[in-house]
């Protein structure tokens, strides 16, 4: 133990010398690294159609399959056409079951299995490869944050212009009718010299369309830089995430939920890191260069608390956390208001003349008490109710389940679905039509498992 901790000490001091903290020295190194890395992207506006991604929106939802054969997803694209993340070989070496997802060959589970991976993330720290997601930057040629923010505010309901450096917000791209094209995370970079830039993370299955959408609507003088060819993305989630990542650089512990910064995790590995995720747990999303991602993952996996977690547990974790999955709980047919995402639309952005695509629908759905709502649903008994299960009250169809399965932390079936507004109140008795039988369930408040976000000491 003593030897180990003294080794840590020396590694840490080395890191400090390299600029782990915001000293004058570190700023110089940091800036130099940033400039080197971003120069090409800053100067060249990359056409969106240059992005190679399969636009098919695959899901984890499994259709009923015969005789116990587990098919995570019926898939159209042949395996050979699938894209691979830079961690593909590691997933295979770790014994992952690989499945097609959003055009990528992705790990659905490791030998631990979905149930244990889920529990491990809730109790320790789970490491996810989410490099299939789309990462990009938006910035203005005039170097002004306000210019870039104003441009993005035309496309999302969230307020962007009031983002402070290092602040992150969740929002959605809407079409003209207010339907959701995708949901995304938006960060204003926090590092000196780069605080005029916006960093976006979008869904893998939507990214090709998203980048076209952004490019189409950005005014001249504002650029989109797609970072798929340079950046991987991993997430470290769970109550031990801060301890684990803090061993590499203690500064990460100072981040609070929904903030973002750039820092080194080793003398040579610099990352964009945000305190956010898709599990309901405390944790981080770490954007790291393709060349560094395997080394970083090896460092994290060497920690006792860390296990690799597949897409299967990612889905059950986010469902327990009451978080929407694009293509299932949200799509172009629903507005952010129907999807229960009003919390992500700041008050001054809720009027029809707020100035973004779809604003009229957002305002109309807020005023119209008859629109449907996404709600949490707790089936009674043990039978899970899967996606597309019909929801009834007194024999009348009032909605449909959009995500449903088993919640390992809850210890029973859980679901989310849309119901007519008058049935959206928590405690409402409903019936779920599972295999032709009406089964009792209740509308409940989300989330199913409490959020454990870090909002400050």
């Amino acid at each position: 133990m003593a030897a180990n901790s003294s080794k840590r000490e020396s590694v840490l001091s080395l890191r400090a010398a390299e600029g782990a903290t915001a000293t004058g020295n570190s700023q110089v190194k940091w800036t130099a690294w940033r400039l080197k890395r971003w120069k090409a992207g800053d100067l060249v506006k990359r056409p969106a159609d240059g992005v190679s991604a399969d636009p098919s929106r695959e899901s984890l939802r499994s259709d009923k399959t015969a005789g116990g054969t587990y098919n995570a997803e019926a898939e159209s694209a042949p395996m050979s056409d699938l894209l691979k993340t830079k961690l593909f070989d590691k997933h295979v070496a770790l014994g992952a079951k690989m499945v097609p997802f959003a055009g990528y060959d992705m790990p659905v589970q490791y030998p631990l299995g979905v149930l244990k991976e889920h529990i491990h993330t809730r109790e320790q720290a789970g490491l996810f490869d989410v490099s299939h997601m789309g990462q990009c930057f938006i910035f203005a040629d005039d170097g002004q944050f306000e210019t870039a923010a104003a441009a993005l505010e035309k496309l999302v309901p969230a307020s962007i212009s009031d983002l402070k450096p290092g602040q992150q917000r969740y929002s959605q791209f809407l079409n003209e009718d207010g339907g959701i094209l995708d949901d995304l995370m938006i960060s204003r970079l926090g590092f000196d010299g780069h605080t005029h830039k916006l960093y976006l993370v979008v869904n893998a299955g939507c990214k090709a369309d998203d980048f076209k959408h952004i490019t189409k609507h950005l005014p001249s003088g504002v650029s989109l830089d797609v970072a798929d060819d340079t950046l991987s993305l991993i997430a470290l989630q769970g109550p031990k995430a801060a301890d684990v990542l803090g061993r590499l650089n203690p500064s990460v512990k100072d981040l609070v939920f929904m903030t973002h910064t750039d820092l080194p995790l080793t003398p040579s590995i610099w990352v964009h890191v945000s305190r956010s995720g898709y599990t309901g747990e405390d944790g981080y999303e770490i954007s790291v260069k393709h060349d560094d991602v395997n080394e970083l993952v090896d460092l994290l996996l060497a920690e006792d608390e860390v296990e690799m977690i597949g897409l299967g547990a990612r889905d059950s974790l986010r469902l327990e956390a009451g978080l929407c999955l694009y293509g299932h709980d949200i799509d172009t047919k629903v507005s952010p208001i129907e999807a229960g995402l009003i919390w992500s639309v700041q008050k001054h952005r809720r009027s029809a003349d707020a100035g973004y695509l779809g604003a009229a629908r957002v305002a109309a759905d807020m005023a119209d008490k008859s629109t449907k709502r996404l709600v949490g649903i707790l089936p009674e008994g043990r039978a899970p109710a899967r996606e597309h299960t019909e929801i009834q009250v007194g024999g009348e169809v009032i909605g449909e389940i959009t995500s449903g399965g088993f919640g390992p932390t809850v210890g029973g079936p859980i679901a989310m679905g849309y119901v007519a507004r008058k049935y959206a109140k928590a405690g409402t008795d409903i019936e779920l039509m599972v295999r032709g039988k009406a089964r009792p369930a209740k509308v409940v408040k989300l989330p199913f498992a409490p959020h454990n976000y870090y909002r400050g000491a």
Binding site: S62, T69, A72, L115, G312, A313
Partner: protein, 123 residues
């Protein structure tokens, strides 16, 4: 007792005219953690290949088909509270249902343990 297997990974253990039905070790492993099993009503008449039960993992629901025709005479009620038994002992305590076999001749078309093993090896 003879045990026969289907290509859909069910097994049927034959004891006189009674057939005990479950899913194979291979199937249980492929499914992952079983969280729910839905069993048929006792007395139900099933043709060969009818849906006899549903087994659900965290992510997926899968049908279990009866390997041979028969009437349901018992179900493994212990699975309602302990579905994980299917993973722990798929070809033992994790059985699903018992039927009264209608036509023992249907068993001939099924694989024995050795044939099933080589079938799985080829998957």
């Amino acid at each position: 007792m003879t045990v026969k297997y289907t290509e859909e990974h069910e097994w049927v253990k034959v004891d006189g005219d009674t057939g005990i039905i479950g899913i194979s070790v291979y199937a249980a492993k492929a499914l992952g953690d079983v969280v729910y099993v839905e069993l048929p009503e006792i007395g139900r008449d099933m043709a060969k290949g009818d849906e006899a039960a549903v087994v659900e993992s965290v992510k997926a629901a899968s049908d279990v088909y009866t390997p041979v025709a028969g009437e349901v005479i018992a179900v493994n009620e212990a699975l309602e509270d302990a579905p994980e038994t299917v993973n722990a002992s798929p070809e033992g305590e994790g059985w699903f249902l018992k039927i009264k076999i209608k036509d023992a001749g249907e068993l001939d078309a099924l694989m024995d343990a050795a044939a099933y093993k080589s079938f799985c090896d080829g998957l």
